[in-house]
């Protein structure tokens, strides 16, 4: 085999260690037909020329003849009843083509079937500042925007709910959503795996901590944009979405159109990070307007509107209690979370379970209790952001373990190592762990950073943390047994065309599809034409979320390609008289024939040439079934470890990150260039959340909905990053590949705070770590108090009795 290489700035970790799972390795390679020629090579993304020349056509670059422009009128109140909407004056403004209110499409929707409480335009009440109430379509955007100001909405103001504590109380006026009755609790979860009380009783030391992780938003550089046409009974929507499938379903449901009459095309994408997973109000509104006016309708949100659309990181308050033995073995853990969900459900029910699901995927917990609670508040809806519900508990858990290690006088890395999950095991909450390089990523990052040998000087510190993440959610967002991803390959006189619903949001999923199909068919990537993210032309892919695309669409592509290869090989054998088993498929040749000759032969023999592949996760990835068991299972898990090196100024409280080392368990880097981009991008976003980013409110009004005031690290704020890839191919991943889009963010945040502790001896138990929080902890210590900034207490939450789930028996715990 040709060993895959690390990226430009990285290096391949211990190639000998890579072959640890030699049987898996050889099986994978053999089925691929020999040495790899495309997979594993660092190559530019397939759309790189278009992107660097400005020729990529993003959603807002697309304008059809006769397009009219839509602007949404949004609520100025966090909580109010709508008594009436008077659009007469707006409708009379010259240039206005149509004005729309929610009465035209009252059907509720939501990305998750368990939380369908949104309306494209609110009809009865508004629940956050920025919630859409009405829409104007006009000949130009400026006219539409001015006309919006002439829509008169009669509001009856209600007391807003703006904090978790307030949401747990009996509402002053009325609950945000009627279903939550005497409080604003959206979801409660209570699960117990194994006997937690027994575990605590058997522990030598028990510790409790409280942490808070502030909410943040995606701030993708591209503002959401979509255009709709309705012609000859067919609705088509082009949108900068991460999941054309989700938009497709919402459009069909709200507008009452058969799925077959709706086509959603995901345009080339200016960044998502989870912010474009939900179907959005503007997508439905323009579709309705296209249907009523017969004109193409376009809507591009302003930056401020994107902040209100949000669906970003939930603020989460966390309490964790862990019992350990003297030698650092965890006996029991109890983890509580309280999520501030904002005004709607979005994916928040899943988010709630995610705040509890992956703790056992890094540490072998013999007994684990998780209690989660999500509340509604009158703020922009939270939803999925890179890492979806897991960066918050990861932050808490890693720092909690640091503190436990300190209590025990043990090295924090050693404490973790004693509890690491093992490859080919099943966690206490039933997750199937297969490939697992957690030990390797730890070793790599420690060796590169010199963490254990770090030299102490005042204000300088290093912090270490590890994490795990999914390679795709094991269950779809709505219950069904269909594949999660499907790929069709068409071959003919027009060459090779790969059709897949997968949506390239900049992560490079198109490049992954081209790489895999080219590898399988013995071609180069440029021989493969891609049609992706188009519900009218391509078979389904659920969307670019949960780090699922490489694993799921990748496997579907391999299946489709292998079927096509078999067809071409058979035809080439028939034509040349050679045995199919003797044929090599490489270098643009199928055995003795050129690829084109083989295609001609196959077409002559079989007619039209098409093949399909599909992927659904295997059923054994989860253990027993219980409410919430759909969240957490994944066909594979990636593991990441980070060391952060920083200086923290004890006078100003300012933190300067000098360097980040990050090691990631990638399985196999299909394209190390793209992998590097995801790893470094994750580190960057993690540093932003650790030190700056905060979506915060004042009296229900977003504090700073602008690129200037929502602080994110700039080029001059970023340290150098050294990334290390550990390649131990996963038995089920495409060529052994695992995810990289989300995992590398996770350990960065706790590693920053751990490094600040290393530097100054204080704990900042909430992010973002602003300078004043550092000083507050230092001041507190100077006055003889707790050397800590962070939440003091966790609220009383009426969790239901725990659903007790038996842990896997010994036989299935070791797979």
């Amino acid at each position: 085999m040709s060993a895959p290489r690390g990226g430009a700035n990285g290096r391949l970790a211990s190639e000998s260690a890579t072959i640890e799972s030699a049987t898996i390795e050889s099986a994978t390679i053999e089925s691929a037909g020999g040495a790899l020629r495309v997979v594993g090579k660092a190559m530019p993304r397939v759309d790189a020329v278009s992107k660097v020349t400005g020729r990529t056509v993003y959603a807002d670059d697309l304008t059809f003849p006769g397009t009219i422009h839509c602007v949404l009128l949004r609520s100025p109140h966090p909580h109010a009843r709508i008594r009436g909407v008077d659009v007469r004056e707006a409708a009379g403004v010259p240039g206005v083509v149509a004005v729309l209110t929610g009465a035209a499409m009252p059907t509720r929707f939501g990305v998750s079937p368990s939380s369908e409480e949104e309306q494209a335009l609110a009809t009865e009440k508004v629940r956050y500042v920025g919630e859409p109430v009405a829409a104007v379509a006009a000949r130009d955007e400026a006219t539409a925007r001015e006309a919006c100001k002439k829509i008169h909405v009669d509001y009856e103001l209600l007391e807003p709910v703006t904090s978790i504590d307030q949401a747990l109380e009996v509402p002053m006026d009325e609950p945000i959503h009627a279903a939550s009755k005497d409080s604003n609790i959206h979801r409660l979860a209570a699960l117990e795996f194994g006997d937690v009380e027994e575990g605590f009783a058997a522990s030598d030391h028990v510790r409790e901590d409280v942490f808070f992780y502030e909410g943040s938003t995606h701030l993708a550089m591209e503002e959401h944009s979509a255009t709709a046409t309705f012609a000859d009974g067919q609705l088509t929507v082009w949108s900068s979405t991460q999941s054309p499938h989700n938009v497709h379903r919402a459009l069909s449901s709200v507008l009452g159109l058969p799925m077959g009459h709706v086509r959603v095309v995901a345009t080339p994408h200016g960044g998502g990070f989870g912010g474009k997973v939900d179907p959005c109000a503007h997508e439905i509104v323009i579709a309705k307007l296209a249907m009523t006016t017969g004109r193409p309708v376009k809507c591009t949100l302003t930056r401020e509107e994107v902040f209100y659309n949000h669906r970003g990181r939930h603020p989460v308050l966390m309490w964790v209690r862990t019992g350990v033995t003297r030698d650092g073995r965890i006996r029991a853990m109890h983890f509580r979370t309280a999520l501030d969900g904002g005004a709607h459900g979005s994916l928040g029910a899943a988010t709630t379970y995610y705040t509890g699901a992956l703790q056992p995927a890094t540490y072998d917990l013999p007994a684990y209790r998780f209690e989660g609670c999500r509340v509604f508040t009158n703020k922009a809806p939270c939803g999925p952001k890179r890492g979806h519900g897991t960066p918050q508990p990861r932050f808490a858990l890693e720092l909690h373990l640091d503190k436990l290690a300190e209590d025990l006088g043990m090295d924090p890395v050693e404490l973790r190592r004693r509890n690491y999950v093992r490859p080919n095991s099943r966690t206490v909450n039933g997750l199937r762990i297969t490939s697992c390089a957690i030990e390797n990523v730890t070793a790599e990052v420690l060796a590169a950073s010199g963490y254990s040998r770090r030299r102490r000087r005042d204000g300088h510190g290093q912090g270490f943390a590890v994490s795990a993440y999914l390679c795709g959610a094991g269950s779809p967002m709505y219950l069904n047994r269909m594949p999660h991803s499907e790929v069709n390959i068409e071959v003919g006189r027009g060459g090779v065309t790969v059709l897949c619903g997968a949506t390239d949001i900049g992560q490079g999923s198109d490049s992954v599809l081209a790489t895999l199909v080219a590898e399988e068919l013995g071609l180069e990537r440029e021989d493969v034409r891609l049609v992706t993210g188009d519900t009218g032309l391509t078979p389904v892919d659920l969307g670019s979320y949960s780090s699922r695309v490489t694993f799921m669409a990748g496997n579907a592509a391999i299946e489709a390609a292998r079927k096509m290869r078999a067809t071409l090989v058979a035809a080439a054998a028939e034509r040349s008289g050679a045995q199919p088993t003797e044929m090599t498929v490489a270098g643009g040749k199928i055995g003795p024939l050129s690829f084109e000759e083989a295609v001609v032969a196959a077409e002559e023999l079989y007619g039209s040439l098409g093949s399909g592949g599909s992927y659904a996760p295997p059923p054994d990835i989860s253990g027993s079934k219980y409410r919430g068991s759909a969240v957490g299972p994944s066909p594979a898990f990636s593991f990441s470890a980070a060391v952060v090196d920083l200086d923290a100024d004890r006078v100003t409280g300012e933190v300067r990150v000098n360097k980040v080392w990050i090691a990631h368990d990638i399985g196999r880097a299909l394209n190390p260039l793209l992998v590097r981009g995801q790893v470094e991008g994750g580190v960057y976003m993690g540093l932003g959340e650790a030190l700056m980013e905060a979506q915060v409110y004042r009296n229900g009004l977003l504090h700073h909905p602008s690129v200037l005031e929502y602080k994110t690290p700039l080029s001059t704020d970023m340290p150098e990053i050294e990334h290390l890839l550990v390649e131990q191919p996963d038995p089920e991943g495409p060529y052994g590949a695992k995810e990289v889009g989300q995992g590398p963010l996770l350990p960065v945040v706790p590693a920053v705070v751990s490094a600040i502790h290393d530097a100054l001896g204080i704990w900042v138990d909430e992010v973002p770590v602003t300078p004043e929080k550092v000083l507050r902890a230092l001041d507190s210590r100077a006055k003889g108090g707790d050397p800590r900034t962070g939440p003091r207490a966790f609220p009383m939450i009426p969790y239901p009795p725990c659903v007790k789930v038996a842990p896997p028996d010994a036989a299935s715990a070791a797979l």
Binding site: G7, A8, N9, P44, R45, D47, A48, V49, S50, K51, V52, T53, G54, R55, T56, V57, Y58, D60, D61, H218, L219, A220, M221, E222, E223, P268, H269, G270, G271, G272, F273, T302, R303, I505, G506, Q507, G508, L673, L674, R676, G677, E680, G681, V683, Y684, M685, S706, V707, L708, T712, L714, S715, T716, M718, E720, I721
Partner: protein, 155 residues
Amino acid sequence: MLRLRVNGESYETLAESCETLLEILRERLGLTGTKHGCELGECGACTVLLDGMPVLSCLVLPDQLEGAEVTTVEGLAEGPALHPLQEAFMALGASQCGYCTAGMLLSAKALVDEQPDPTREEIRAALAGNVCRCTGYASIVDAVAQATNTMRGAR
């Protein structure tokens, strides 16, 4: 009637006094390679060169364009030959979602035109007004450095 030069070509176009260069490029001239992420001068996505200097096209009025030479991302390549910065951005994966890329390339071009051998700190400083949410800036800084190497080698 506004007369302006963009990427070496002369244009005459209608433009209202309140239309910014960003709107003129994208909506009047069909040059949609220039992006927008805030329209308030806060994100850098709409950076173009005005007489060789990076400016934010969302804050440039038509009057400032009389007699000026505008360079957009569409004007970086010479025919099919990409600019070394474009080559390096491709080769090092400095463009992911690609939405900041046009602005990054033009900020970088102004730097390398003036300073053929910039340090990494100088590169970071030159890009400090261009927000990127994908890359963490690392591959972008690398790409600019690599391009300057290429360009020095070609001289």
